[in-house]
Symmetry: C2
Subunit: 281 residues, 2 copies
């Protein structure tokens, strides 16, 4: 497995692979990899001849008071995980390699980003779309893999790829969870012991919502209130958002009629965690 930090070098390696007719799978990450990322890398290595993982804590997708400075890093551990999961190359650029001082291009999106995480984090998806566009141009993958945990991100990337006719297949992959149901996240590492226990409430609240949907509940308000009640029962939890939206447009809906995303963002202490599920009738 190769570890590269230069755009030029990565492009050269990939051009050679393409010349040999090899297919390329790509997993863009911010590092501090967990079993969620591992499942993406494994899937990519089953479906492609070569697999590239990028590790880049992308500054432009963080807001001014977010956790950019504290975002966890462990390149040695990440390297081992990538190797074992079947990656062929890690692309690990620094900020200067990705963004010149006078970098001024932005890829952004209307509509899809106005709700959910886009509402709580106003410049977040511009940062995501810009870096993912750039990474796609560097890696030119045949397939790229994203976790369903960041459901809005997945929808945004799919839309961007469709709108801009980018030649890549976007593969969405299931959420990987801890045994007690908490969705795997690099940010789980921020949680104290007590907070870690409290964090179970995210998945618990969604499970209850899912049960009531399966029993026939179709009112978004009732679903939101049920989730709210569960979250409120946990002292350490503070709601950022609880939303029921159309799974394609990410717009709020009143009545559940078609594919629907139920998504939440909850602070456990200072740590913001997200979870979701898609309900298909």
């Amino acid at each position: 497995m190769q570890l590269e930090d230069r755009i030029k070098k990565v492009k050269e390696v990939i051009k050679q692979w393409k010349k040999e007719g090899l297919t390329v799978g790509f997993i863009p990450t911010m590092g501090y990899l967990h079993e969620g990322h591992e499942s993406l890398i494994k899937k990519a290595s089953e479906e492609n001849d070569r697999v590239i993982v990028s590790i880049f804590v992308n500054p432009i997708q963080f807001g001014p008071n977010e956790d950019l400075e504290n975002y966890p890093k462990d390149l040695d551990r990440d390297t081992t995980l990538c190797l074992n999961a079947g990656a062929d190359l890690i692309f690990n650029p620094d900020k200067e390699e990705m963004y010149f001082d006078d970098f001024c291009t932005i890829v952004n999106m209307n509509g899809l980003t106005e709700n959910l995480c886009g509402k709580s984090r106003p410049s977040h998806f511009a940062g995501v779309c810009t870096v993912v566009s750039k990474l796609f141009n560097i890696v030119t993958p045949d397939k790229a893999y994203f976790g369903q945990k960041d459901a809005q991100q997945l929808a945004v990337i799919k839309r961007m790829v469709r709108d801009l006719s980018i030649d890549v297949e976007i593969v969405g992959c299931s959420i990987i969870r801890e045994e007690d149901g908490l969705a795997k996240s690099s940010r789980n590492t921020y949680l104290s012991k007590e907070e870690r226990i409290a964090a179970i409430v995210l998945n618990k609240s969604l499970k209850l919502a899912k049960e009531s949907l399966e029993k026939g509940e179709r009112s978004s308000n009732n679903i939101i209130n049920s989730i709210k009640n569960t979250i409120d029962s946990e002292k350490l939890a503070k709601i950022d958002y609880i939303q029921v939206v159309d799974a394609l447009s990410m717009e709020n809906i009143q009545e559940i009629k078609g594919p629907t995303l139920i998504a939440i963002a909850i602070y456990i202490g200072k740590t913001r965690l997200i979870d979701n599920f898609t309900f298909k009738m």
Copy 2:
């Protein structure tokens, strides 16, 4: 020469060419081609195995009170010109093929677009960057050709390509002029006989500015005033902007020290025309 209106078909053709190891040159246009475009196509056909010309009047780069509806069209004439100049494929999509109803991705730029045409036409360069990104993703050219007449556009595209690591070489080509000095433009066709004569004032004013620069003038204000006086002497002309900017950053400068763009936009009657030259010391 092929004429195609479907993205999918164009991608197929180009994939086949690339498989055969052929290089692709690309000229994005809005049609109603003139000798300026012709010079780009000829240059592209000298430098590449295959040449694609896109003809698409891109609605999202026009402002609400601009000339989208009246923009001139003549596909038969364009086809003949492309064929004679050495093009292999014309990509001529309609609006629906390029933009789905729920298209919502935007490629935009800070800084470089705040001056000059970006100031007069606030959403113009977002429209240009978005369509050119999409066209680059469809055509995946080795080289793409743009005229120096749209100097700010050329600078913006170069920056976008650098920022987003797009794998294409941008080739800027000299302005092609009528015998009396007027820069060739599809919009010249809007001019009445009287206006056509009046339009000579654009190039005339720049020629005088160039002469004074060559004689040692280094004050932007003096250059601007000299151009202004020439333009004002023509009754049918109305100034949109006269600017002296750094040729890379497109920012206004007071004193001319390095590569400098002197750019003007002038209304002749209702027709907005642009012209410019770059002064290298």
